[in-house]
């Protein structure tokens, strides 16, 4: 056993035997308990121990624990276990009974627990949804439930209390707010009333009320002081008011005085302004000279007129005299003397030299001025710049003198008669031309003058009629030629004399054209002669050719007639030689015809003088002209090419003149073309209204500087005595007269082509 004991001990010692002590496990506090007292290692199960009793209720549990304990396991004393086993058995049975009861009890309790928990849950739900007044029955068999219910009820109560308090807080705070609001609006009697269960609120109420009370007290004090002050102030104010009233009376008086003075000043200023406005803006240069020869006022316009500023005149009253031109200074002095001594209005015109050196004309007017009492205040003067007027006058004077000089220097006699028939103007030329006596012209009576002059005219009646007619029609212009008994010829022009659009009379102008008319006649005559001379030149030129042409048939006639004579002198048998004689005689007649053709052609050509229009076949006309010239062309060994257009339209023109032109052009060509040269004559249609004849030669051509002169009269390149220089000039004139033209194209060393354009009907080109 001992060994065992020792072994357990050892084991216990090894396994912390103190903690393994049963009583320690069961926390036995009973010091009388064997387990506690002995501190023996006996298992309580084996002996009567307090612990055993103590754990009666929890026996089975302990048993279970003990059965696992090493002490129990090491206990070999089984007999000592019998009471314990009995107890355990009894205990077991008891426990089973208890367990059964407990099970029943547990069932009932769990039922109650479920109900109670549901009740608690419901209560908590109500509380959480805001109803803290809920209470549940606290009684329960189950302690825990009772406790829980109690807690729930307490919680609900607490919550209820808190809710109530917060309500109170809100109400009390609202009252505070209300009271303070009232105080702030001056209701010092307002107090927070009512009692509160909440201490905090109660103390707040006290503080608030105390504060209101102290404010109220303070205010009352201040109000009192203010009242005293107000009283003093009122007294003072009363005195001030009294003084103020006095002052107001004085002020009012003073104000009225000031007002009056201001009004007077205003009137004065306005009057001054009015006066200045008028004076300053006068176009003229105005000034006021005081009796002590000072300038009181000078209008600003002086600067525009003189270039000097008003201040300059005021500063130097002599400036007016200084700028007066030297020639006018004496007049100016005299005028000033007069103005001051006579004390009456005076006027003078004088010139000044402006600051920029320009001369201006001044029209000066001045007038003495006096005040209401008649005191002399000086002279008021006005200087007007009349330069433009003076210039215009000058210009007018010049124009008039120019007109008058022109009137007198003109070659025409001029007479101007007004609407009333009075001579308003005339020139000496007019008087001389008509030999009008002084007394008639001096009377200025147009009718008298007319009566005097009319007798000098060849056809006085028609002149008078015309004149009277013109006087009835003032706006008519007229022209006439007057022939005098003494042979003079006047041109008469007459036209209305107007100013703007209104007629104020009539101007007659007479021009002695006697000399001109004579010269014109002479010129016309000499032109005629010249034309004729040219023609004669052309004819003379022809005559040389013609002489040869006639000479040849004459020579033939001469020989044939000579032969007949020879035969007759030789007494040849006439009968036998009859055929021979007839042949010779026919030859004679043929050649006589030849001569006749030539002479007729020449005569026909030279006879034509006046323009006579006829239908002409130009091709035939050309052949005729060439007829005069072909022998000459032949003898000069010139090749003549004639290209005449078939069906060339006929023209209506002057045949003789056209032939003269062509003759002239072809003659010129013959003159310039060398041997073996070519002259080509071409006719063609230029357009539907015009036909053209071109004469082309292969002569030396005409240089440009000469070409431009070839149609000028008396221009010639031929040797003296060989040409008049009129041929092309006359040809040109003729073609113009016939409504056609001559064109020339030339190239040096190549030749020249003259083209004559002829209207199919005279006048279609120049215009019908």
């Amino acid at each position: 056993m001992k060994i065992k004991k020792q072994g357990v001990k050892r084991i216990l010692e090894e396994k912390k035997p103190e903690k393994a002590k049963c009583w320690e496990v069961f926390k036995c506090k009973e010091k009388a308990c064997p387990a506690y007292k002995s501190k023996d290692l006996k298992c309580w199960l084996f002996s009567e121990t307090h612990c055993r009793n103590e754990i009666q209720g929890k026996f089975l549990e302990k048993i279970e624990m003990c059965l696992g304990c090493n002490i129990f396991k090491m206990n070999t004393d089984v007999t000592s276990m019998k009471p314990t086993l009995k107890v355990v058995d009894k205990q077991f049975k008891e426990y089973n009974k208890i367990i059964r009861e407990r099970d029943r009890e547990l069932e009932r309790m769990s039922m109650e627990l479920a109900l109670s928990l549901s009740e608690v849950f419901e209560a908590l739900k109500k509380i959480s949804s805001g109803d803290p007044t809920v209470r549940i029955d606290q009684k329960s068999d189950i302690e825990l439930i009772e406790k829980l219910k109690c807690i729930v009820n307490a919680t609900a109560r607490e919550i209820n209390e808190i809710v109530d308090q917060s309500h109170e807080f809100a109400i009390v705070l609202a009252e505070h707010f209300n009271v303070l609001h009232r105080v702030s609006f001056g209701d010092l009697r307002a107090r927070v009333s009512g009692k509160s269960r909440v201490e905090l609120l109660e103390s707040l109420k006290k503080v608030t009320n105390k504060m209101i009370q102290s404010i109220s007290k303070e205010i009352t004090k201040r109000e009192k002081a203010e009242a005293a002050l107000r009283k003093a102030h009122d007294k003072l104010e009363h005195r001030v008011e009294e003084r103020t009233a006095e002052l107001r009376v004085i002020n009012e008086k003073l104000r009225r005085e000031i007002e009056e003075r201001r009004r007077v000043e205003e009137d004065l200023r306005e009057a001054e302004l009015r006066y200045r406005t008028v004076a300053d803006f006068t176009h003229d240069w105005e000034y006021w000279e005081t009796p002590d020869a000072k300038l009181r006022y000078v209008s600003p316009s002086c600067e525009r007129i003189t270039g000097f500023k008003p201040e300059q005149f005021i500063h130097n009253p002599d400036l007016i005299y200084e700028i007066t031109v030297p020639e006018d200074k004496d007049n100016w002095d005299q005028h000033r003397h007069d103005a001051l001594s006579m004390k009456s209005a005076q006027a003078i015109v004088f010139r000044i030299r402006r600051q920029d050196g320009k001369i201006r004309w001044m029209e000066h007017v001045c007038q003495p001025i006096t005040d209401t009492q008649g005191t002399f205040l000086g002279v008021r003067a006005s200087n007007r710049d009349i330069t433009i007027r003076k210039q215009a006058e000058e210009k007018l004077r010049n124009t008039l003198s120019l007109l008058s000089a022109t009137l007198e220097s003109t070659a025409d006699g001029i007479l101007v008669v007004d609407k009333a028939g009075k001579i308003s103007s005339f020139n000496q030329k007019f008087v001389r031309m008509w030999n009008i006596p002084e007394h008639i012209i001096a009377s200025r009576n147009d009718e008298k003058a007319l009566t005097f002059v009319v007798d000098q005219l060849k056809d006085s009646e028609s002149f008078l009629t015309k004149v009277r007619e013109l006087y009835k029609q003032p706006d008519v212009e007229s022209y006439d030629i007057l022939t005098f008994k003494d042979g003079r010829i006047f041109e008469r022009y007459s036209q209305p004399h107007k100013i703007g659009n209104s007629i104020i009379g009539r101007v007659w102008s007479f021009r002695d054209v006697t000399e001109r008319k004579r010269a014109e006649d002479a010129l016309r005559e000499s032109e005629q002669l010249l034309l004729q001379a040219h023609k004669m030149e052309a004819i003379g030129r022809l005559a040389a050719g013609v002489a040869h042409e006639i000479n040849n048939p004459l020579a033939i006639i001469n020989e044939k007639a000579g032969l007949i004579k020879d035969f007759l002198e030789l007494s040849v048998d006439l009968e036998q030689n009859k055929e021979r004689f007839l042949g010779l005689l026919n030859g004679i007649f043929e050649n006589v015809d030849r001569c006749r053709t030539i002479t007729h052609r020449l005569l026909g050509f030279s006879r034509r003088t006046d323009v006579s229009h006829a239908v002409i076949n130009l091709n035939n006309a050309i052949r005729e002209v060439i007829g005069f010239l072909e022998k000459e062309i032949l003898y000069r060994n010139i090749h003549l090419e004639i290209n005449l257009k078939e069906d060339l339209p006929e023209v209506v023109s002057d045949k003789g003149q056209l032939e003269q032109v062509l003759l002239n052009i072809i003659n010129n060509a013959i003159d310039v073309v060398q041997k073996e040269g070519i002259i080509e004559v071409i006719t063609d249609i230029k357009d539907e209204n015009t036909v053209q004849i071109s004469v082309r030669d292969t002569g030396p051509g005409i240089p440009n500087n000469i070409l431009k002169h070839i149609f000028e009269p008396f221009f010639t390149t031929k040797d003296k005595g060989k040409g008049t220089g009129l041929g092309l000039s006359i040809s040109y004139g003729i073609m113009q007269k016939l409504g056609g033209t001559i064109l020339v194209r030339s190239e040096v060393n190549k030749g020249t082509t003259f083209t004559v354009e002829i209207p199919r009907k005279t006048g279609t080109i120049s215009g019908e």
């Binding site: 000479n551 004459l554 020989e559 000579g562 032969l563 030859g587």
Partner: protein, 126 residues
């Protein structure tokens, strides 16, 4: 002295032939040509004593022919036949060697005299 041998040069054939016949009627050995070239041929082949030469001719004119004749044979005398208005040119023909000139229409008597005078000169030179 036999009658002169005469050559007539004129473009007018009728004139030439009529005048030649009249000269032949007067026993002159006369013939007429109308072209200068023909005349020159004859002058070369069968030289006449006297040439009657028309001053105005187409182609070669009288003066040119005259000059050629005188070149070919200076002893042949040439009498120029001229028309009126050609007198200006007479001087030139005379300078060029013409023996004489006579104006158309011709007076046959004067022509005979001039031909004879020319023949005489020619004979004297011969």
């Amino acid at each position: 002295m036999s009658q002169a041998k005469v050559l007539l040069v004129d473009d007018e054939v009728e004139f030439g032939s009529a005048l030649a016949e009249r000269l032949r009627l007067r026993d002159y050995d006369a013939r007429a040509v109308s072209q200068a070239e023909d005349a020159l041929t004859i002058i070369r082949s069968d030289p006449p004593d006297v040439v009657l030469l028309d001053y105005r001719m187409p182609g070669m004119d009288g003066i040119e022919v005259l000059k050629v004749i005188k070149q070919i044979n200076p002893s042949i005398e040439v009498i120029m036949l001229t028309g009126h208005g050609d007198t200006n040119n007479v001087e030139e023909t005379m300078k060029s060697g013409a023996f004489e000139y006579i104006m158309k229409p011709i007076d046959i008597g004067s022509l005979i005299e001039k031909i004879n005078a020319a023949k005489k000169i020619r004979n004297s030179i011969k």
